[in-house]
Symmetry: C2
Subunit: 312 residues, 2 copies
């Protein structure tokens, strides 16, 4: 099998590629290394080919889809908050990039795609845990809008051109090689000011966290188990954790136990943040997959590893 | 009130503007006249200002949003089938155009938007009639993908920048000044070959039709009645009609009663067509609005008017 992974030098992408190589795939990686790192792939041999390319340009990427059997489309703007400042970031790096991937697939007759969507497509006020059939999806972040747009583009390619898709709505994915997100941010903040940890919002934001190894195993499991034209599955863990929980774990693991937690206040971290989110993972579990880690376990596991990777 | 209507020289837009002017609005119309016609607005005085401009260009449109109170965003690629040939048509004229409208609103602090979405966002296999809370929305046409993307962009602008939106998922809207669609096509076909009417598909495609006067009254009604941050409402009629029903009515009304109906076959008119669709309009009716016409009534009414407009 020849796989193509967009964003393959990134956090989730590089873990996925480890599994794909284990299973005997050759992998072409399209990544502009804006947040991904070539070092995340340096342990692989010539079976993994990294192409430094910008997927917002159809012309730049289209040729790389020739002879590909399966596309894993993970590339996206990694910084949700950026969308509020430069409002076409997610339009370009999310929606238009997904169009470029699909059009490249159509031209080169590549039929299969797995897509990293997100729990944020559900928007605010969805029941917790949120099942896949919840509607209407009214995302409140520009990042969420681009994920919903990506889902729609993919389903329209399936309906119109006969493609086949696995769409994954991710909870917060955390773990080794993390390049952004709350744990990553807290470690960096504590490095700078070991006596104070500033938390955006009131700390009561409560979300579900999934360990990245669980996430990529779940992706490969679902591709094997689900065989519809479009297969949409929530990927998450069985519980939630609050931002204060995370702050406490990170303080404990860094050893900066004198650090005081200060809160910027308000019910959310930034405009477009969703204060409370938990995915229903009944569909995933019914297919025979159980996450290894709970939210709190994956947070502690990730804190330990990222402290090691970042260095204090 | 100063209203801005994108696609305001088009079929639905021009009817909406008639009502807006009746209610004392001044109206700025952005329309590239690709399917709209300035003659649809020529009965108005200087209260309606038509600007011939392409909304796929942010630079071209942004200045026209200054001093606007309410945006009605109706412009879109009118030809669903075109999307399968030139695959970025709906991306540009739908998704990116909607981004341009929203960004223009943000820059000029215009807070209110009504958006013409579509029943096709629900995709195939939705229950009939389909309620607003049906999910997941997996459109099968590229046009449908652009409408879903537009909804997501709008809801993210509401969630992030404090805009307020009325999103309308339209059934098939028909009536005077129609510039496309099945009745329009059938009349033109019969003009060319009065003894034969070719129907795309097997004729059993079954959909709900709403008369355009009902549609624009419902829009204005809902803006008055619904007051959430995001208000999403299905607009349709109480029943459905088949394509064969429509063919028979059009043959009868044209007087070409010797015409034989021939079918191209298959369960749908084209790749990306949805064979059966009917919207649940309980939310609309519960708010106190009843459509004047049933599907079949609106088809006959429309056939009579369009035959008059087109000429045989």
């Amino acid at each position: 099998m020849r796989a193509l992974v967009t964003g393959g030098a990134g956090f989730i992408g590089s873990h996925l590629i480890d599994r794909l190589v284990d299973r005997g795939n050759e992998v072409v990686v399209l990544d502009n290394l804006s947040s991904g790192k070539s070092s995340f792939l340096s342990h692989h041999d010539e079976k993994v080919k990294l192409v430094n390319v910008d997927i917002t340009s159809l012309d730049e990427i289209i040729g790389h889809f020739e002879g590909i059997d399966f596309v894993y489309h993970l590339a996206a703007n990694p910084d949700i908050r950026l969308g509020t400042k430069i409002t076409d970031t997610d339009l370009k790096q999310g929606t238009i990039a997904t169009y470029n991937v699909l059009e490249s697939m159509r031209i080169h007759n590549v039929k299969n795609i797995a897509f990293a969507s997100s729990s944020v497509v559900y928007g605010e006020g969805a029941p917790m845990p949120t099942p896949e059939n919840y509607g209407p999806c009214l995302p409140i972040s520009l990042y969420g809008a681009s994920k919903l747009a990506g889902e729609g583009l993919i389903s329209s390619w399936c309906g119109t051109f006969g493609h086949k898709a696995w769409i994954f709505r991710f909870a917060n994915i955390i773990g080794a090689r993390g390049t952004h997100g709350v744990i990553f941010d807290f470690i960096h903040k504590l490095k700078n000011t070991p006596d104070n940890l500033e938390v955006l919002g009131n700390g009561r934001q409560e979300k579900s966290y999934m360990e990245v190894g669980d996430c990529v195993e779940a992706i490969l499991h679902c591709i094997e188990k689900f065989d519809e034209s479009i297969n949409l599955v929530n990927l998450g863990s069985v519980d939630t954790a609050s931002v204060t929980n995370i702050a406490e774990v990170v303080i404990e693991e860094t050893g900066f136990t004198d650090a005081k937690i200060s809160y910027t206040g308000g019910d959310r971290g930034w405009a477009g943040d969703i204060p409370r989110a938990m995915l229903a993972i009944d569909k995933l579990r019914a297919s025979g997959f159980e996450p290894t880690y709970t939210s709190v376990e994956s947070i502690r596991h990730t804190a330990k590893i990222l402290i090691e990777e970042i260095g204090l």
